[in-house]
Symmetry: C2
Subunit: 484 residues, 2 copies
């Protein structure tokens, strides 16, 4: 009974039964109570500790349910066999964390593991091609819709929804895609998911593992990393003035091509209808060939109407259309969508439709109202105007540099490209800009494997979405001086 001299306290915030349970557990772990050893009966331990018998019973019950002791009929309670228990300290060893980054510290100091600055250098003016302007976001409207939806809150909205996303939102998106992008699809073909990365992971489940994928070069590096993490065999296909070369695609032996026909990232090239037909023809020649169309920023075009999607020209069920609200609404809302052609929809239904949806139904409903009640269109119109002003401010800022640079990609999207005409390479351009506190992005950052001759390392990208007008003005002024 020596081992069970338990110092019970009324004031340590723990029930008496819990203190007894913890004490015995500790004794077993330390090996002071040995395997097979008999515990005192509940009656005698209760008397010894001067507590009620039910208190001891509760403690024994807990030890029983966790398997530290066992009850033998007519004989009493015994310590269970438990190899390895003795080695168990109370806490996890801390050694493994040596040299590990401290996220909390990083967070407090304002530079996390993600974020804009990888190098440690900070810039006064960052012409990142990968940001958006949130200053004009209709927070009040979003809040009002959210409130309205939570007023009607019925438990249905908190119950599991369709794996593809709620039908009502898919109807709304199908309608939006048809009118704004010429996409021909039924709501049944749409799968809503928490961002493009997730949708590509789902697509991997549909297309399978052994995919040979062709990508434009230069391209969107994030997509490259994702396909690389799938261990897809990736063929970078050099871009010509019309986009991915069909000849290059044929030579690559790829099954699937990932393209951005409406506004290629980062080159800004719009794929002409002729090239689109060539790619569709290629896809149509063999079963299992597909084109992934990433229509990431088609909402913003500064000249004429939006260029229709590639999917709009697809008559053979060969285009997988992927879009997102990250650019047009906000990156943090985590809602994207994928339109599957019929053959892939069949595979999805057979093999993947049990994966639960990744988007909360409340968020789906908020987005559905935001689009359905016209707020999205109004927001887009507002943003087009704002981005056009910024875009014009950038082009304006280029005045005086016409002889030094060729501008391209300026009809759409949220960035432009500048190609040096005086033989300076991107390193010089980026470096001179950095010295003036301005960040611009060399085209080689977007390249995969070898750079094609026409995309020489003499080009930089300037994004302007998140900069304010006066920042653009000052930033461009500094660039003019830096690159003079």
């Amino acid at each position: 009974m020596n081992d069970l001299t338990i110092e019970l306290r009324q004031d340590n915030g723990k029930h008496l039964y819990e203190q007894i349970y913890l004490h015995i557990r500790r004794e077993i772990r330390k090996g002071k109570l040995l395997q097979g050893e008999k515990l005192p009966s509940t009656r005698s331990l209760a008397e010894f500790l001067q507590v009620s018998r039910s208190t001891v019973e509760l403690a024994y019950d807990q030890l029983l349910s966790e398997g530290y002791i066992e009850a033998k009929p007519y004989r009493g309670y015994f310590v269970c066999p438990g190899e390895g228990l003795l080695d168990m300290g109370e806490e996890m060893p801390e050694d493994g964390w040596k040299g590990w980054k401290n996220e909390e510290k990083e967070r407090k100091e304002g530079h996390g593991t993600y974020g804009m600055y990888g190098s440690g250098q900070t810039y006064e003016y960052d012409f990142s091609p990968n940001t958006i302007d949130m200053s004009a976001f209709p927070y009040a409207t979003w809040k009002k819709i959210t409130k309205g939806i939570l007023v009607d809150a019925n438990s249905e909205m908190f119950l599991p929804g369709s794996p593809k996303g709620d039908f009502i939102l898919r109807e709304t998106i199908a309608h939006y895609l048809h009118t704004s992008r010429g996409v021909n699809c039924r709501p049944e073909q749409i799968i809503i998911g928490a961002g493009n990365d997730y949708l590509l992971m789902l697509l991997e489940k549909i297309l399978g593992r052994h995919v040979k994928i062709a990508m434009e070069n230069p391209t969107y590096r994030r997509a490259y990393r994702i396909f690389d993490s799938f261990a897809y065999r990736i063929s970078p296909i050099t871009m010509d003035a019309s986009g991915m070369s069909a000849k290059g695609l044929r030579a690559s032996e790829a099954d699937v091509a990932y393209v951005m026909p409406s506004h290629q990232y980062p080159t800004g090239i719009v794929m002409p209808i002729g090239r689109r037909m060539e790619l569709l023809k290629w896809a149509g020649e063999k079963e299992g060939r597909y084109l992934i169309e990433d229509d990431y920023d088609s909402e913003f075009r500064f000249k004429g109407k939006p260029v229709p999607s590639l999917q709009a020209s697809d008559r053979g069920g060969k285009v997988i259309y992927i879009g997102t609200f990250s650019k047009s609404i906000a990156p943090a809302i985590r809602i994207g969508y994928m339109v599957l052609p019929l053959p892939l929809l069949k595979i999805y239904e057979e093999k993947c439709s049990f994966y639960s949806t990744t988007v909360s139904r409340i968020d789906q409903r908020i987005l559905n109202e935001f689009i359905g009640k016209g707020h999205f269109e109004r927001h887009l119109n507002r943003m087009r105007k704002i981005y056009r002003e910024k875009h014009d401010m950038v082009l304006n800022g280029l005045k005086g540099m016409e002889k030094s640079f060729t501008v391209s990609g300026e009809n759409a999207g949220l960035h432009i490209l500048l190609q040096d005409r005086r033989g300076r390479n991107e390193e010089e351009l980026v470096g001179a800009a950095a010295k003036a506190g301005v960040r611009v992005y060399g085209l080689s950052e977007f390249c995969v494997g070898e750079m094609a001759p026409q995309w020489k390392a003499d080009t930089v990208a300037l994004g302007y979405a998140s900069l304010r007008m006066e920042q653009i003005e000052e930033g461009m002024k500094r660039l003019r001086d830096a690159w003079a």
Copy 2:
């Protein structure tokens, strides 16, 4: 010029330039304007159509940017080569949809592709083991928190967050897991994701493709389907009274074992500490061996304290702990979390940390306040009371059936098991119940491969979470009659 007799209308909602563009595009697609054919100059077409020259220029610009025509310096505009254009109808063929299910119709009729009833039969009382009670959810609190967060809304919350989830929420979850489940972890080890299915997809990227996984049999079928979709080699390991047999696990040659130690689904077995140590020992014997602990419903225990997690006993960095708020808050909020041991965290940081988070930052912030301000604990206490009442009502309803059935799994979770003692099989039990309008679930529905002898097809599961008290009372009464 015959082809360009365009009937322009002021009243069809389309700009004049758009009508011209659409007309020419149609003529090219139909092959009435041939490849290489010269278009009229903007001036002459403007005169011919009696519109301003800039209107025609806009139309030509759009055709140019989409690549239907090209501009040759000093010569004019020409139709581009475009093989395949001729085959292009205006709409997608509809044939492919024959025999396809119509989700809209299904939705209107109230039975979707997901949902409780697969067979078409409807039941008055459904003892599904896979539902929760949302009637006591604190909607008002949730709404208030949401409103409060949107009041503070700054653009930061709408910008991209950390791929692992916001640090503040990971801190809150780490604290909660430590106090309630004994989990030893730093916020750095936690990855927040949109549900367990997604987290398992992410885990596949970390563990790799060629994993041999051991699963308890019977088990959670959804997890089985997910691992099957990864093409993992799955070894079902028969459960004994302590859970997954360590001997069976050794014989399986698996690298990874998926277990539910706190309350196995569906058997309700709590894995005793001795078996836990055996499994941890197995994992510790070889590099690359891991235990996935799915702690899906540990919050609800009706006897004593919650049983600590398996992760709490792990000293070797061998347990991957997965949890969710689907059971404890709501299935539709789509927030789960995964605690990675250090060796896997390293792989995650190296290979997978570029995947964007799948949970919106607003939702993360709402959840963070819900837990941090004590609402979650209060909600859990309320739900424990409600579920205990329902649980007692079920056990009460079993009175008079003691001789016919052995009850198990009744100390925790949201369902119990009934094993027939009179030689009836589950088919008979399920069938008799169905005739009385009551749905119960045969244990074989949870089995993978062959059923072990001790889990004979003579057991049914009864869940009670979403039924109201009076429904449970009446349902149990009917079962007593049906199984008399």
